[in-house]
């Protein structure tokens, strides 16, 4: 089970910000999220959305260990 965190407008859009989802890798996680909410799936793949696994930014694919924390980060607005 990965722990999925959504931030900023992604959390507003999804209506949640913290959820546990079964997935072995990022691609599987994206597919599971898109199956449950196609609009969210599209937003997560949108321009400027970055992904952090266990608080480290990753590009492209990543294997998810048990208990991995996956965060979807929309464009950062600064403080």
């Amino acid at each position: 089970m990965a722990r999925v965190l959504l931030f900023g407008r992604l959390a507003d859009q999804a209506g949640w910000r913290d959820r546990r989802i079964e997935a072995d890798d990022l691609a599987g996680l994206r597919a599971a999220l898109a199956a449950a909410d196609p609009e969210l799936g599209e937003a997560l793949a949108g321009p400027g959305v970055q992904v952090a696994v266990d608080k480290v930014l990753v590009r492209g694919e990543a294997v998810l260990t048990a208990g991995a924390e996956v965060a979807f980060l929309p464009p950062m607005s600064g403080g």
Binding site: L5, F7, G8, R9, D12, A52, K55, A71, L73, P74, P75, M76, S77, G78, G79
Partner: protein, 149 residues
Amino acid sequence: MSVSLTDRPFEPGALVTAFCAGREETGAVATFVGLARAEKGRATVLELEAYPGFTEAAIGEIVDAAMRRFGLQDVVIVHRVGRIAPGEAIVFVATAAGHRREAFEACDFLMDYLKSRAPFWKKEHGPGGVRWIEPTDRDRTDATRWDQE
């Protein structure tokens, strides 16, 4: 060096007092306080979201870079998260150096980063509703000044 987030109002003056105390070889302390503007009633509350752990780490990396680049003695950054009322402090940056040019430039550099690239997501609650804020063109331009050197 310290970077922290807080969801409670904080007092920049108290941070300045602590930061300046007991410095015998620091000639220069530059500070910046960012305050929430009322925008003449257009903005009533600012809401800032961070990713605890990730956000401090990302800011900490920039602080390390600034310490080396400007030869700083010390840096303190405190950033507010959550709902912020007009007039309240959003961000505090203090830099300590032997001389003033380094202290000023480092403070300016850190603020440009914090305002344009730091991992925060910002919402403005106003009479017209809620909107997410993205960096302005000027924020982006200011931040790239440091890349070109």
